[in-house]
Amino acid sequence: MLRRWWWVLPAAAVVVGGLALLLMTAGAEVVVEPLRVEAGSQDDEVALDAALYLPPGASAEDPRPAVLLGHGFLSDRTAVDGPARSLADAGYVVLTWSSRGFGASGGDVAIAAPGREITDVAALVDLLAARPEVRNDAADDPRVAIAGSSYGGGTALLAATAEPRLDAVVALAAWHSLSSALAPNGVVDPGPGAGAPAAGVVKTAWTGLLFTARATPGLLSGPPGGGAPDAAADPPAGDAGLDRPADDEAATGPGPGDATARPPAGATAPSPCGRFTSEVCDAYLAIATAGTMTPEAAELLEASSPAGELERVTAPTLLVQGQDDTLFDLAQAAANADAIAAAGTPVRQRWVPGGHQQVAFGAGSEEIDQEVRAWLDRWLDAAGAGNPAGASEAGDGSEASASSLVWTDAVTDEVVDAERQQTTGATLRLALTPDGRLTTGPAATDDQGGGSVPAARTIFSPPGGQPAALSTLPGTGGLGDLLPSADIAGQHVAFTTEARDEDLVLFGAPSLGLTLDADGDEARVFVKLSDLAPDGRTRLLQQAVTPVRATSLPAPVTVELPVLAHRLRAGHRLRLTVATTDQAFDNLTEPTIVTVGLDEEAVLTLPTAEVTATSPRATPILIAVAVVLVVLSLLGAGLLSRRRRRDVEPERERTGDQEQEWPHAGTAPARAGADGATPPVALSGLGKRYPDGKVAVDDLTLEVGKGQVMGLLGPNGAGKTSALRMLVGLAHPTTGAVELFGHRVRPGHRVLTRVGALIEGPGFVPELSGRENLELYWRAGGQALEDADLPWALDIAALGAAIDNPVKTYSHGMKQRLAIAQAMLGRPELLVLDEPTDGLDPEQIRAMRRLLVQLGEEGHTIVVSSHLLAEVEQMCTHVAVMQSGRLRAIGPVADLAGTTARVTISTDDGEAARQLLARAVDDGEVTASGDTVVIAGSEAAVADLVELLVADGIRIDAVTPRGSLEDAFLSLTGTETGGDDG
């Protein structure tokens, strides 16, 4: 009964919880409002496509801080819809917009130009200030942060330099200096007398990708010039990349006349510039054809770079950069951070594994999302955070955001707090040797004794720049491991260190000294650092390839390589490769022979760091705690089982001695039997209801006295087996109780030492022999083998030599006998046998019967269940009849059988016999059917009846004695006998 309630409570809890959850989230929807924002200066008006995301519950009474969320270069505001929603869910008002020249916005792309895209931000901030749902710090000064990744990140930083109303900045994968990012030259010192370093080499793979991806869509999807209500008044909005240089350049007074001069939107002529402004377009074409940065292009790109302006940033800034970003590497973020920090503004850098595309809003990285959320929560939400500029980081107590640089060790997956866990390590100076090694020893030239011409290596740059080495692909970032290290023979030289014994953390920007010479106008090489694993696999550190370009030759240059954040594992080697080509960059088309001089200046300087593992002290404690827990639980389990065992011990002395008085010491009987002693079996109100609703046993109450052989009779499905199962604790009664020898039976109760059972057939381990099965069975009860009286039991089984064969070779009859023997082990005082003669041949049945009767006479109590009435009649002293789970009758066999007092006589003339007997018998009734006469309910002696019939000349074929159990049973269970006619 208790069991039923188990399901209700947890189910109710789940249902209620689910409803509550539904109710809480219902109605909590983010409201999205598409907008069109007028922006731009007087002569360059632009309509921007924007959307406002309002968090549930935001209103004039409950204003929220706002976030301006930008997008990347290859998409528009729809790409950040997901992140905008989740920020809105977190309680911020989010305003996303498509930058000029993107998506459904008007204008052309000027790449975050100060007078254009950046001024647009001011218009957006104005819009937010006017909204009642946005919290304002002061009139027209909303509490707003700006966030974005890649293009959006750079925009955010530039906006921060120009718009003082911004309260926080989050820039993911942003740039510091576009010209050095897009066309780097690693040279920092071109050598004496060379002047400034040569112009950088263009990252053609990236620039090509970005430019053409932007240019092409512009042709197909111009802004909805026809749909905008003010199209007529806003001609530039209808621009869709037409013959640009002519009409766009002026960008002045676009009167209606100009508007009509333009073909309607949709009928556009293709242009290589797409939606870029002409300045950008020209700059790109120039550097794409030259392969190196031009001064004009450099000037344009620098105007769109935060470099040099960052001291004006007052909003706390979070910079997240991918460690394998090939477009904007870690040095860009570091330069941004240094400049902002120099101005005294709080700044935090988070370097994460991954390439350019993996560091973005909605890219799926949980750590980045958490970082951003934490930063915004801290600087926007904190009530009374006051003036962000100058607020001390340590002041608000959250140490996690106080650190200015946190990076991820991609090898150990560990997050390293550069301030707390990292200290500057030794600087490694590795010399480049002519035989391709990087050694810490003295420079190679010392080995050569003679001090003659310093060694050099020659590499060749192929005509047309092909074949070119493949090191990286734009956007793949961390997937770079999949690329084979494909350096072309003859085009590169490599220098490798020895394998190290211990891990080494490389952190910082390495520098390299080299002497370059070429037989042409310039020497152009590409320098890479790789991690070489013992099995030959290489990994390009930070996916970085540094172009080195020198025009005044020979050039003893000093090259600064990109910032490293890498753990070189023990057993790994470091390889420095200098190659003449790289597919990601612009390569020389003229065939050139480049000489790499390896004098004593040819040194690679590696900055290293010491990183302490996180809280080593906690580790032994944890181990200790874990071990203690385990030991405690084992002890507990051991103690529990030990207590049980002790309870079993005293029982052993009891068995084998039938004359023992019950109850034994320590227990009081629950009830006394008819003769004053505790009945071996007492069922009271026993009931069993199975989970599917079937009632197997219903209110069964009976007692079996000592020495009785009780037969449990009933048709199939009467509940006999269920009752017997409950008797030995196999099944749990739903109502009532079972008491054996006065003890309420529980599974595994110690009183079961006095019980032997055979329930629903034999069950043995097939691979073991019969003897082993019996032995193990007995000893599983924790009793000694000697107490089992095994020889006597084996005698009963009568299996002979087969006892030592595996049980799976036995026939059913043999198994049955073995099962009976198993029940008899230890000569139990109570035997519970379910259909013991099933499968036995008649002689064995007879032997069994005799045994049971004998045991009963010796004082054992036996409960036998059967549906073979004749058998029960012969072996049992008492009978209990069950039907449909209920007890129909109980009592000594003789009494029960005697109740029907029905005699059946087969004659040769039934009718005559009937008439004769009907006259003679005055109590009861006589009926005949065919040749059989039935005398029911009469006390007349059978012998008298027979005599009567014989005397009358009627021949008798058979007489069925009175007191047949079969009749009694059938009448009790309500089934008709064969003798009656309907």
Binding site: R3, G364, E366, A410, V411, T412, D481, D501, E502, D503, D531, A533, P534, D535, G536, R537, R539, R569, A570, G571, H572, A613, T619, P620, L622, I623, V625, A626, L629, S633, S641, R644, R645, Y690, R725, V728, G729, L730, A731, P747, G748, H749, R750, V751, V755, A757, I759, E760, G763, F764, V765, E767, E772, L776, Y777, R779, A780, G781, G782, Q822
Partner: protein
């Protein structure tokens, strides 16, 4: 308890399982010998990601290396499968033979019966876990000699490796605790030991797959197999215990949960088989 042990040890599948797992290093040795000395299946180290792949290429350098490789090869799946076999079979096989009900008519509490069965299953599992490196050591030493060990994290002497290997085995055996608990709990609910064992093995595979899906983020760190390869840290010259402790503690809730369920269910159950 010894009774139960005898009961189980005599079964063919026990011997089969133990022999089978001990034979794996032998098979691997044959495979390596046939593949030539090219360094085995180089599922190499993609730049510091997965050092177990590295162990494969280092396997032929010495006997203890071979044992390490054999351990690494069997740890993620085979060992767990064998553990599932030994523990998932315990109760349900008795139920399928019909002998469970007789065991339960003995004066032994059900809980105690379960404890004994689980203890024996666990013991056999530990035995299986030990057999792999032992057999690997034997075969490896015969084939490749006894010398210093090159690991993905450094170089160790052979004797050092033995100690470490001992701890590794203990850790792997413990890391299978959740499998044992799940298989055992399953076996208390069903008559079919095939169902319990196979079901548990399928669950092991599914959990391993889930563990490989990085999109699950921090949820993965609560999966019981997440720290399965943390023992690699023990191979470093100065052993790294960080993930190891987490792995140890990670098993506890699953173990307690599985066993708790098994006990709770079994005590309340009507034995109808």
């Amino acid at each position: 308890m010894r009774v139960e042990l005898r009961r189980q040890l005599r079964r063919r599948r026990t011997a089969g399982g133990l022999l089978g797992i001990a034979a794996v290093p032998v098979l691997l040795a044959v495979a390596f010998a046939l593949a030539g000395n090219g360094g085995g299946p180089g599922d190499g180290d993609g730049g510091g990601g997965d050092p177990t792949g590295l162990l494969f290429s280092l396997a032929t350098s010495s006997g203890p290396n071979f044992a390490l490789m054999a351990t690494a090869a069997t740890a993620p799946f085979l060992l767990l499968a064998v553990v599932a076999l030994f523990t998932g079979d315990a109760v349900s096989s008795e139920a399928s033979w019909g002998s469970l009900r007789y065991l339960l008519t003995r004066p032994v509490s059900r809980r105690r019966l379960l404890a004994r069965k689980f203890a024996v299953g666990a013991l056999l599992s530990v035995l299986a876990a030990i057999l792999v490196p032992v057999s690997g050591l034997l075969v490896g030493t015969l084939a490749y000699g006894w010398s210093d060990v090159q690991t993905p994290l450094g170089v160790l002497t052979a004797t050092q490796t033995l100690w470490r290997l001992g701890i590794v085995v203990a850790y792997l055996a413990w890391s299978a605790a959740w499998v044992a608990a799940v298989a055992f709990a399953w076996s208390t609910t069903t008559d079919s030991s095939v169902g319990a064992v196979a079901g548990t093995i399928v669950l092991v595979i599914v959990v391993q797959i889930l563990d490989a899906i990085t999109a699950l983020g921090t949820l993965r760190t609560y999966l019981p197999v997440h720290e399965l390869s943390a023992w690699i840290g023990l191979l470093a010259p100065t052993p790294r215990y960080g993930d190891l402790t987490r792995g140890i503690v990670l098993q506890v809730p699953y173990l307690l949960g599985g066993l708790g369920f098994a006990v709770w269910w079994f005590e309340r159950k009507d034995i109808l088989s």
